[in-house]
Symmetry: C2
Subunit: 445 residues, 2 copies
């Protein structure tokens, strides 16, 4: 083996145009400076940012110092610059980002993006255009930050029929749930603190409502099962209505509550869902705390594998962006047929397997409700569940006020439609004094 | 996006010759049958085993049924068969395996192997020959079974300067340590049980002495730091001398004992070592139980990422072999310069950074010894440690017999050479009644 100094410096560098120089864009710039040598030793050539599109030119100039980088406010200028090989899109959103990315593809440029919202909604259009123009669209940074989960799905687990994936893929909500658990505080208090600490955005809707997790899960499902991206069919429920009380009850029953993205292949279709979930304390996902992410993938051959790390932030996300740049640099001039397909499966092998409706999803459930403390209460509720063919795993009843009791059920697996209808009937019973709280339980994850 | 039936079946299949049809070879055959459709949808073409080399032709015929597979006892025949594109080596060992693999490379065939011993010792020669003949040598199955850790290192973390890796990369020893911990049984009892259950081989030396883990660690270190493979420079210590008592003491101090492979980059060189290690109970590695594997990689950009799954066995290992086959099938006819380099770094960028000697390694230590219970004992021991500039973190002293005491020290980080010399001096103190037990502590993993 030849050792000694790299000759990479003498090879032609690959030219990158960066759209957006915010948190992740700035991180990408820094990583390419800091680890330039190490990266060139791996890629076989230098990766050089030669142009950036930003809103604030002055601010960009300050960050870039005296580097020889063209600064513009117009991303289309970069998308059309014949001197640029790869366009990195880090502005986010679904409008301007989509316009600039599509133009870059039409101009024959490879694209690297961290934009899960854009891909989850417009991915099919983007990947089709990329196939047509023979370019790569890489998006490792779009899911779970620096954890190379896209690579694991597209390349590492190709021997497997993937059976299911369950992931903690939103750091904000996991931070909030960890704090609610460990300190017994209510959701709103913890959210305010998370915002103060920078773990949650000023408008945290996308995170706490589960939309961000559903964007990422949509991409994982396509990679796992070889289906088109179908964000509009995801069942999504966030954590805003979760009460600290439920976290405590779950703990007494041996469970933690996590916001999970779950996608599962069944004979009749695919489940695609994001919701707060009770998982056993022994699950590898149960101890993932704070803003960390983890994805558990179950393949028929390899069994369960887990991928864990920082799922967001300047540097972890930049790590994924730059890994994609190295991939593209390595494969830049290879024939399209030699590259790894965008959605893990060859484009002509993508199948339109149906995504199941919310009613057809099957899980176990946790129910909590308050009732008037009088004879016959349990009999009436049990009768409704029995008539719906839903069996009870365990139950806790305890007094909460002189004349009221709190009842908690762990129900066995059942169709969501049946559970929903049973809850509607229970809710109408005359002695029920609260809304019925319903959470899904995944005992086998 | 075009959906519908795959057209892969119409494309030319890639032809594989299998050397060895034992546990992993048999698993590879089964996976390629079972998931043929799913794999072809990903790879873009069928992957077909057309020849196998085995010791027992009759047995092979039984496994393969009426499949159209040529069976031979001579691997060279397969290595030289012009109809074969990829040779998969699964016979293990360093002699015949090396001969057949080198011949396959000379014949211009790609190689997939699970043989960590061969690669850790002869890897430089093998990768050089592969470079010369323009073929790929893929070895995902050589480290941590079905966990795609090689791919993560070579491709997923390319943005990073890798700082250290710590891994539980031998399932047999982790199973034994888990059992010793949970059931308080001595090493020999648990080993015998592990052998009965098939978790340990009849001759378990390679596993329990840490050699197998060191083979794997050697490969990880090369991938992480861009250095030639240098198994002969690894510091290796197994678990055979570990006593159940030490596991209990460690637990009282808040630690678990795991056999870790650790490689770390320092300014003056690289640490490459396998030994039983005390790690904090909160470490992501501390809860990896039974025969599971996990690798924790620390990159300067991404921070820590963890990869977890089944590290051995028929199907998990076959998962990695087949993933390599898909990689090779995808890149088969691409120019060598477009492929991912064998050791993550371009061949001309591999550097010969020195591997540090055992004496130069720095860790914290756990010491345990028995002493005569009389005044001045602690003073004398403390003096030796102080003179060697080794500071004491915590200490437990407790009576074990009327006239004897057991002393346990947690020492702060120090050069191993200094610790070794201090232990020699302590051992010679007249009141010391046992051998000094010494274990490394890694508080930051």
């Amino acid at each position: 083996m030849t050792t000694g100094k790299s000759s990479s410096k003498e090879m032609s560098s690959i030219k990158v145009g960066l759209l957006g120089l915010g948190v992740v864009g700035g991180g990408t710039w820094k990583v390419l400076q800091k680890n330039a040598e190490e990266i060139a030793r791996r890629a076989g050539r230098r990766i050089e940012i030669t142009a950036v599109a930003v809103r604030d030119v002055e601010k960009a100039r300050k960050l870039l110092g005296d580097a020889d980088v063209h600064i513009t406010t117009d991303g289309l200028e970069i998308a059309r610059d014949p001197g640029i090989d790869i366009v990195v899109e880090l502005i986010g959103g679904e409008t301007t980002a989509l316009e600039w990315v599509m133009e870059a593809i039409r101009q024959g440029k490879h694209v690297v993006t961290a934009n899960k919202a854009m891909l989850a909604v417009h991915g099919n259009q983007i990947f089709d255009a990329a196939g047509e123009h023979g370019v790569m669209v890489a998006f490792e940074a779009a899911v779970a930050g620096g954890i190379p989960i896209i690579k694991a799905m597209r390349e590492g687990l190709t021997a497997n029929r993937i059976e299911w994936i369950a992931g903690i893929i939103n750091g904000t909500t996991n931070f909030i749930l960890s704090e609610m658990q460990s300190r017994g505080l209510p959701f709103n208090t913890v959210l305010a603190e998370a915002q103060r600490l920078g773990y949650a955005e000023a408008d945290p809707t996308f995170d706490i409502e589960g939309v961000d997790a559903a964007h990422k899960l949509t991409l994982l499902a396509s990679l796992a099962f070889g289906i088109p991206v179908q964000f509009d069919k995801a069942c999504i429920e966030g954590i805003a209505k979760l009460e600290a009380e439920d976290i405590q009850h779950a703990a007494r029953l041996g469970y933690r509550i996590k916001l999970l993205g779950i996608t599962r292949r069944r004979d009749d279709g695919i489940e695609l869902r994001v919701h707060p979930t009770l998982i056993r304390m022994g699950s590898p996902l149960a101890n993932v705390e704070g803003a960390m992410n983890a994805v558990l993938v179950h393949g028929d051959v390899v069994g369960p594998t887990l991928y864990y790390g920082q799922g967001a932030g300047e540097m972890p996300t930049a790590s994924a962006v730059v890994a994609d740049l190295v991939d593209v640099a390595r494969l830049d001039s290879a024939d399209p047929e030699h590259r790894v397909p965008h959605l893990a499966f060859q484009p002509d092998a993508v199948k339109d397997i149906p995504i199941l409706s919310a009613d057809d999803i099957e899980t176990a459930h946790y129910l909590r409700l308050r009732v008037e403390d009088r004879p016959g209460v349990l009999a009436d509720i049990s009768r409704i569940l029995a008539d719906a063919q839903i069996s009870i795993g365990s139950m806790i009843q305890e007094p909460v006020q002189p004349s009221e009791a709190s009842i908690i059920f762990l129900l066995h697996r059942a169709r969501e439609g049946a559970v929903r209808e049973a809850i509607r009937q229970i809710q109408n019973l005359p002695f029920v004094r609260s809304e019925v709280t319903r959470l899904r339980v995944e005992g086998s994850i």
